[in-house]
Symmetry: C4
Subunit: 277 residues, 4 copies
């Protein structure tokens, strides 16, 4: 069973070329954050910005405008309840992250459908949180695109039909992934990444990470890494590893590690693991 | 008279098991924060998150949405003025913290009643600030549950009928506690904790803590500790001790210690006092 | 001409007695902050809290709710446009700070009148910014109370009638102060404090402080110091000196010193200058 | 080809005279920030304040009030949708920064026209972002004043008609600048500054800066420097150089450098490069 090492980071995080501009590092559009779960989309958006994405737009309930900009003026905001804006901001994106704090009611469902309709085949779509639940339970058809799912174990059960007790069975998970397609980041104590390549296991991580918002942060990091680095599987695995490695480091001195603390350490962490290719 | 030592912390703060997820560390729902006292519920919620509670939901006036998420995107928010939401978010919680910045008007009273109605016997309920005053003065019947009261001396007078001048009488306080039930954290220079066990006294603390919001912060810490650690009395006493110990440490270099400064030091403090059990 | 030294701080900033609670350190109510100048009242309020005032309430336009609590959850907020609230929150205060960001239109004028009407003779009233201008230009009668004015030179011209060019004349300033009464903090390169005692001059300060919000911050510090320390003149002079001394220290490494940076250093600064009395 | 060195900073950043007040360091009014791009005007305003401008007013959509003050209470705010306020706040300014996050719709166009109408010939006007696009594509007539344009390469193509592939041709750029007038800061890997003097090239900068908001931050710094230092060309070139130099320093340890991180380092950076003149 191949485990991720920091070698993979060095294969992924390239030293930035001098001749480059923000367009070089990709547009990421994040869709989520209803009136109750605004924090989730703020953390996902922050993770994308701090991972180095060139241009980040947050499409959420406008109730989140002030808190988003108070924490992250680097992001732009648009109204998730305006189908035209959702479409207009998804179309030019290299990566779309959808689901963090989106909610699962009928309105969220409608937004998800509209968002999926706007997706085109070359785009990378990170499907997180509520969006996984909606896809699984409401049978919303998936768009044709490069899909990356980031379920925790209960969401994976919903999506794959595999019960929690059976999720230790790698072959079963792989089979479900093959049916669903895309990349599956199955989050747990040692997160596993399923794709059309052999499963990659994350050997690190800490129980200090077991707190709300950790998954939203990972989704944003996956989005930010995929916006910049061409191999989506490597980019995803690198984001997973970096997320845990930063947490492990902080957990040496903290009983609980907050998502926002991980976010603020991403730029330094990536610098230490960049390499010329 | 038994005094709390940091031994108690080691008996309480367990090293987190590797095989765990955010559900392991408890759901905390905090109810309070009207239009004027939003800061109180923000501090209580922050204290719960930084203490390591797995999942934190803040039920307050929606006027506090932006400031809550600007400081603490890790928390979710719901509308305290919507009885359905209050009920729906109290029911799944392991711990409910109620009263920080709730206010004491007729509307606050109505919210408190609805909240108490939603409580079930296995839940831990931290009753703080305005909620103590309302219980005492408006004779709102207490729910059947594991109750923890966190009165300052004036609130204790209201709740117990014992005048400030007589609160040095431990037997009297104990008797009032026995009548009321639950755990009583009687906040003062050296906070005392009354329960069905012998009174525990906090030997530390500093006058630098004598500033607004300190009690809200303690209530959130008690909530966060009780969400994670099975012995509620030990969890409560550990939170009290930790709150003062962090303050004492900061007070070596500060004339006044702000509640938000204490909050940011909780994760490091808990790490230093965790122990295998 | 007596100049302030840090000896005065030691005569003013007492070591806090162990047996004390937030009521010991005074209630401060700050009135100001219209829709455009919310930052001013946020800075004044923050300065009061970080100076150690026991309980701080900000009475401003409710548009400032989110930004106040995002920065300072320790303060409570009330609506400056609601005369009942203004009155109810001024009456129990030991110190009222009025004018930071209040504005000078007819509505501001109305608020100032209502606020002054609610003042009682034993209260300390810090009259700052727009409030000085309104008093001077609109001839709003001053309340009977312990008044402290914090004009910059243009505001002093309005209040005293002394032209800028003539403000170097100490006797003239003193005479104007004697006519107006109270304490006058005449802010300039070397701030002078006039009262019924000989003028006190602040020998320190830096041009790095010459930036918007510096005066609001000082007004809040004066409020916070007067809430805690019994000699109002010493408290005022100590606040002026501390404000400059912190700035001087920061200016060793900064071209401009921001008001919010001064605020965050107050607790440490006061600790270094506390003394037993 | 003359390149900027830190010598120029020393010729520009004067040691502040003791006898000075906030008026000495200039009023800057920033106009921009619609409902979607509030972060842009927050970053520009912050950069102006942290550069040492005496008094900063942000004229934007009032939706940005809370986030602006949560990050920067030092700034005042006014409503960009109120033509009277726009005019009243532009007229007394020494420097007007216009365009950061303004947007390019018909309403933005109207605001830009009104703002330009309020400009008088002695004012310095930094024309950034959306304002450049509007000037170029909607042929909005430029005001008579000291104009400074801060286009990135696509915006320069719109403004000058020179295609991206031809922008390496200095003579061509100079010719376009001569036709347009003012100072042109052509942002790229090595930013070039065109004026009626020989072109100045910025020899430093890092691809870690290639992220959203970097240009808004530079516009605010140019505004802040021009408010304080009398030679506008030197002030502009110094701001460009300082912006890159701070980024270079941070990029030694960060894969991406956030605009807000640059902003927080400006006061220390300027202190290290001030000189007596």
């Amino acid at each position: 069973m191949p485990t991720i090492t920091d070698d993979l980071l060095r294969k992924t995080i390239r030293i930035r070329p001098n001749q480059s501009f923000k367009g070089t590092y990709g547009k990421v559009t994040l869709v989520g954050g209803n009136k109750h779960f605004g924090g989730a989309i703020i953390m996902a958006s922050s993770a994308a910005v701090y991972s180095g994405a060139g241009l980040v737009t947050t499409v959420s309930d406008m109730a989140n405008l002030s808190s988003l900009h108070a924490r992250l003026p680097e992001a732009m905001i648009a109204d998730v309840n305006d189908p035209k804006q959702v479409k207009a901001l998804i179309q030019p994106a290299k990566v779309v992250v959808i689901g963090s704090g989106l909610g699962t009611d009928a309105h969220s469902q409608q937004i998800l459908k509209e968002a999926f309709d706007a997706i085109s085949p070359k785009q990378i779509v990170v499907i997180d949180g509520s969006a996984i639940t909606l896809v699984a339970l409401k049978h919303i058809p998936l768009p044709k695109a490069h899909l990356i799912f980031t379920p925790h174990q209960v969401e994976w059960q919903r999506l794959s039909g595999i019960k929690l007790a059976d999720q230790g069975d790698i072959a079963k998970n792989q089979k479900a992934r093959d049916r669903i397609g895309g990349i599956v980041v199955l989050k747990s104590h040692h997160t596993q990444i399923y794709s059309d390549k052999p499963m990659l296991q994350n050997p690190i991580g800490t129980p200090a990470q077991a707190t709300g918002g950790m998954g939203d942060t990972l989704a944003g990091m996956v989005g930010g890494f995929c916006a910049q680095f061409s191999n989506s599987l490597y980019a995803t695995a690198s984001a997973v590893y970096a997320h845990s490695d930063i947490a492990d480091h902080l957990a040496q001195n903290q009983y609980v590690v907050l998502p926002t603390q991980i976010i603020s350490h991403i730029p330094q962490y990536m610098k230490r693991h960049e390499a010329r290719r």
